[in-house]
Symmetry: C2
């Protein structure tokens, strides 16, 4: 069993070795740029941990881990264009730094490179099934992004639709990566599916926590300014629950606050007051903990010695404490 | 052996059956739109012909043929955004009709769908090698598009670099499609490679012919207005050869004509005059015919009865006469 730090380091070394020096440089430089912006490398590390549950030969899973990381970064590059985001991890986004066309085309190339790395399996007989899993999650990520964009202009969004959206946009990549890692490590179909469900539930819990922390987090620990989602009218679990439950004067106050664009500090204060009054933080936390509980039930069912699961269990718990 | 029309019909029936009715509609409708805009379906038909050279079971190659067509249309959708093109086959481009974000995201989904169809091989053992061929051509198409964009702002472009660009942007897709079709039909590696080279040379010849016809074609037969490339200062084989060869007053006249934006009719007339004086049409035609000759040498080497090659030979000749 490898530690998280060991797997991170293993992955970063491999990534460094694989950076692209081909021509034309205008196509490949933005790819190297975004891949080196940092981040926790959570998705590839989870894939490696999925493999490591079943095998000591985690090196065999490195190309697939890089595939997942390249795919994740591809989706960031294109989403940032669609969302007109100027910054990513505190640095200029690809389309700001290199232009929109470079963002589109380098993103496309990254999606193709993803498949080049998926095609480097130690056991090529696994390719049809691993490609099936990957294609499924990849198209779901696109569907999730489309739902997310739809929700922006939709007046009301059902909570069940919101949960499905974050499942598609965020958690299937974590889930599918874990499953692919498990299969590369030699897992049977059932264990791989349990791990997928673990990842799917963890991913949703993680996104719900993100929503909660954006309003109620300690800005020092969370690393973002508190209230950004409220200021932008972002449809989070907190806002959707409030919209569902607010009646009378609360509803009027909430709608009034949402419709103001001036004075974001007052807006954040007012909306947070209603969140507190309706106790939506508690409700969202309960929902999140429910997903977390279910996630661990699936991990429990994975048929490997308990000691091998410790690392994954700890990482999930740490993630939920947002300490890494 | 099937006729071109039969293969076209077979493909169109399959495409119709496979159109996407999933949610969210905002993601899938633009995909159905571009896939139904028509066109000759040249690439999938060539893939089917590649299979049909070696096997009567062309149906087995239909998913791969659709993959190639979806990929081709993906590249059109994203290129049209990058080139800010308003029309495609006389209809609004996807980003004009559905918005830029829909163009980006639907294009991404199409690239993923391409791989879903590639993963429907009758013989899944072929997947690693077919995926390798496809990934290679796909990344080359991106590289070709990048070079094409680079050339727009470059003052001078070497003819050898131009030929490489059109090879990447246009002909590797035709070549790779033929090779994948051949392999699905049961071809050996050598025959499949000869067919790749046939397609690669045909593709370059086809693009050179496109350049020639844009200035010297019969507008009725060619279906486009004559001189569009000149009006837009597009770096074609004709312009590059002229830039290479024009001296003295011709060079001054050429540069002057290129720098004017007013009165495109006069501009087309002046540049065409210099093309005629330098005989670049004849030179480009000679180059094109050289590629065509080489293409057929590769087809000759494919180890199947001559009668099976007739269809492909006729199609290539017809294409070069631009009658289909």
């Amino acid at each position: 069993m490898r530690s998280v730090e060991h797997l991170q380091e293993l992955f970063l070394k491999y990534l460094q070795k694989e950076l692209f020096d081909q021509s034309p440089i205008e196509l490949y430089e933005p790819i190297n740029y975004i891949l080196q912006l940092g981040g926790k490398r959570l998705r590839p590390v989870l894939l490696l941990m999925g493999a490591n549950l079943f095998s000591e030969e985690v090196n065999h899973a490195l190309p697939a881990a890089l595939a997942i990381e390249i795919f994740h970064n591809f989706s960031l590059v294109h989403d940032d264009i669609m969302d007109e985001a100027p910054l990513r991890r505190g640095k200029p986004t690809v389309h700001i730094k290199y232009g929109q066309n470079a963002g589109i085309l380098s993103g496309d190339a990254m999606l193709i490179l993803t498949y080049q790395y998926l095609n480097q399996l130690k056991n090529p007989e696994q390719l049809p099934s691993i490609l099936r899993i990957f294609n499924q999650l990849a198209i779901e990520v696109c569907e999730g992004q489309q739902y997310d964009m739809n929700f922006e202009t939709q007046e009301s969004v059902e909570i069940v639709a919101y949960l499905r959206m974050i499942e598609l946009k965020t958690s299937v990549l974590i889930a599918g990566g874990l499953k692919i890692g498990a299969l590369i490590g030699g897992a049977g179909e059932e264990d791989a599916n349990e791990l997928y469900e673990f990842g799917r539930h963890i991913g949703i819990a993680f996104q719900l926590q993100d929503d909660i922390l954006d309003t109620f987090g300690d800005p020092e620990k969370f690393g973002k300014k508190v209230g950004g989602d409220i200021a932008q009218n972002k449809k989070t679990i907190l806002l959707l629950k409030s919209m569902e439950q607010a009646t009378g004067q609360d509803r009027i106050d909430l709608l009034t606050a949402l419709s103001t664009t001036a004075d974001p500090i007052q807006k954040i204060k007012k909306v947070t007051y209603i969140y507190n009054k309706l106790k939506v933080q508690e409700q969202a936390t309960e929902l999140m903990e429910d997903y977390l509980r279910k996630a661990f039930i699936h991990l429990d069912r994975v048929n490997v010695p308990e000691s091998r699961k410790t690392l994954l269990r700890n990482l999930a718990n740490e993630l939920m404490r947002r300490e890494i």
